[in-house]
Amino acid sequence: MIKNISNLGDASVYCDFGSEVNENINSEVIKYFNYLSQLVKNNKIEGITNLSPSYNKLIISFDLSLTTFSNIKNSLEKIHIENEFKQQSKNVKIPVCCEDKYGLDFERLSKKLKLNKKEILNFYFSKEYFCYMTGFIAGMPFLGDLKKNIRCDRLETPRVKVPEGSVGITEQFANIYTFESPGGWNIIGKTPKKIFIKNQIENPALIKPGDRVIFYEITEKEFLNWNE
């Protein structure tokens, strides 16, 4: 449920679902996101231009020449989403090569976590992850939750360039750098799989909020010969 609805500026609605980060709250956010996306698609609500789901917030942007904060707020308060409302989630498998040339931060992680590389990877690959949100850069998934013993702060000084495909961890989350970008996550490997394909206009992002992700390790040979 939305705990509080307020305005963020004059052209967006800020829906607060709580302050914690967990799957239950995030699933609520995603449920509203999917439901509102349907309304927008079917022209049942006017003026909405964007929906930004995150861990525990949903920001609804709108065109102020077509509608107002109070209109959208009223519509939101009338919404009742059936529990059976279909969540469009799927399972995605992501190959990762963890050779040291791709996993850039094992030395740091080993020191901080007091675990060797093999142990870190065992913990990392033995879990299914939930996609809380995507963004920051196009298609970047924010996945959780990591097992407690491999949670680590981000780098003190972020990298200016993290290579495309890098798989990173920080705190309770894992992510994938869909493009080369600055970033401060601990890099444990690299995927040869394209996570965001901008020419696939209909469906550019492989992983969407609500999806479940399983990582599996591949050898460098498999990485280099990867064929989609």
């Binding site: 963020l8 500026g9 004059d10 929906l51 930004s52 920001i59 020449s65 901008k198 992002a205």
Partner: protein, 317 residues
């Protein structure tokens, strides 16, 4: 029929294609983009009888030098811009903004620079020949999305023009003043209470200056350090154009069209929609002041902004 195009003899500093930008893509991390000064984008199009949504060439500071090939066109430039038209007989004509001009093949447009502002717009009658990406022609150079491989223009590249059957006249022009206002109106943000009472009042009382670290993504400001008394990070959440976020160093950043879609810095305020065009046009070292308005005021100010835009559009038509 051979294709009409501009040959780029000088690309300018940051020349890109823009229109109204993209919608419904924040959730996959694709930002809005689009013309930084939407009113000037619309006026440029109207002056050449285009639909206001048609893509224009946006330039920043120094603009491009363009040579027309294989046909004739009409064009208009908006903003506060100094430009010249180099005619076939080598005669140089001083250009006037907000006026529809004819251009023959082999003639050139030399967009020298913007004055006391950042962005200007060039519209071509009938529009440009481009491929759209997610229903928009806007170039996002950070994610390389949009025409020209999502990149700004470089020397020797071409800007393809639709083969317009007729070059439209008569000469249209309006008088328009780009008023630069140093007072930026804002609504308090969702994390206003993260800042000390002293910093809250300083935010509205003291001047902030625009720094060089300003581009289509955002505008970094410098001034009185804003002291965070709660937490310098929030759980990452969505961002919108106009949000003023404050990282740990205490200097505010205004997010603009190509901003990242998710961020974890507290939001102290949000620029009202009516003031977004003028914020985009602020040049480095300009001193600005934030003024608080209510949501209701912001909505009314936006109505005024729209009716003023429409007044100029009607004057043209």
């Amino acid at each position: 029929m051979s294709e009409i195009f501009f040959e780029i003899l000088r690309p300018g500093i940051n020349t890109t294609i823009q229109d109204y930008g993209r919608k419904y893509l924040y959730h996959i991390g694709v930002t809005v983009s689009g013309a930084m000064d939407l009113r000037n984008h619309k006026l440029a199009n109207a002056l050449v009888s285009n639909n206001t949504q048609e893509a224009t060439v946006e330039f920043a500071y120094q603009g491009p030098l363009l040579k027309l090939k294989n046909g004739k066109i009409n064009f208009a430039i908006t903003g506060d811009v100094v430009f010249k038209i180099i005619r076939k007989n080598s005669e140089v004509e001083n250009g006037k903004c907000y006026k529809n001009y004819f251009l023959e093949q082999e003639e050139q447009i030399d967009i020298i620079s913007t004055k006391n502002s950042v962005y200007g717009y060039l519209a071509i009658g009938g529009g440009l020949k481009l491929k759209s990406y997610w229903d928009s022609f806007s170039v996002n150079t950070k994610a390389n999305i949009g025409p020209n491989n999502g990149k700004k223009f470089s020397i020797s590249e071409k800007i393809q023009i639709k083969n317009s059957i007729e070059v439209k006249g008569p000469d249209r022009q309006i008088e328009y003043n780009n008023v630069s206002n140093k007072s930026i109106r804002v609504i308090k943000g969702t994390n206003f209470d993260y800042f000390s009472p002293k910093s809250q009042s300083k935010f509205f009382k003291e001047e902030y200056s625009v720094t060089n670290l300003t581009d289509r993504m955002g505008m970094r400001l410098k001034g009185s350090i804003l002291e965070n008394i709660k937490s310098t990070n929030i759980k990452s959440e969505g961002l919108i154009k106009g949000v003023i976020q404050v990282p740990a160093d205490g200097n505010p950043i205004i997010l603009l069209n190509d901003h990242g879609t998710i961020g974890g810095y507290p939001k102290i305020a949000v620029v009202i929609s009516a003031d977004l065009d003028k914020v985009s046009q602020l040049t480095p070292n300009t001193k600005i002041k934030f003024e608080e308005v209510s949501l209701e005021d912001a909505e009314n100010l936006f109505k005024n902004y729209l009716s003023e835009t429409n007044k100029y559009l009607n004057e043209i038509n």
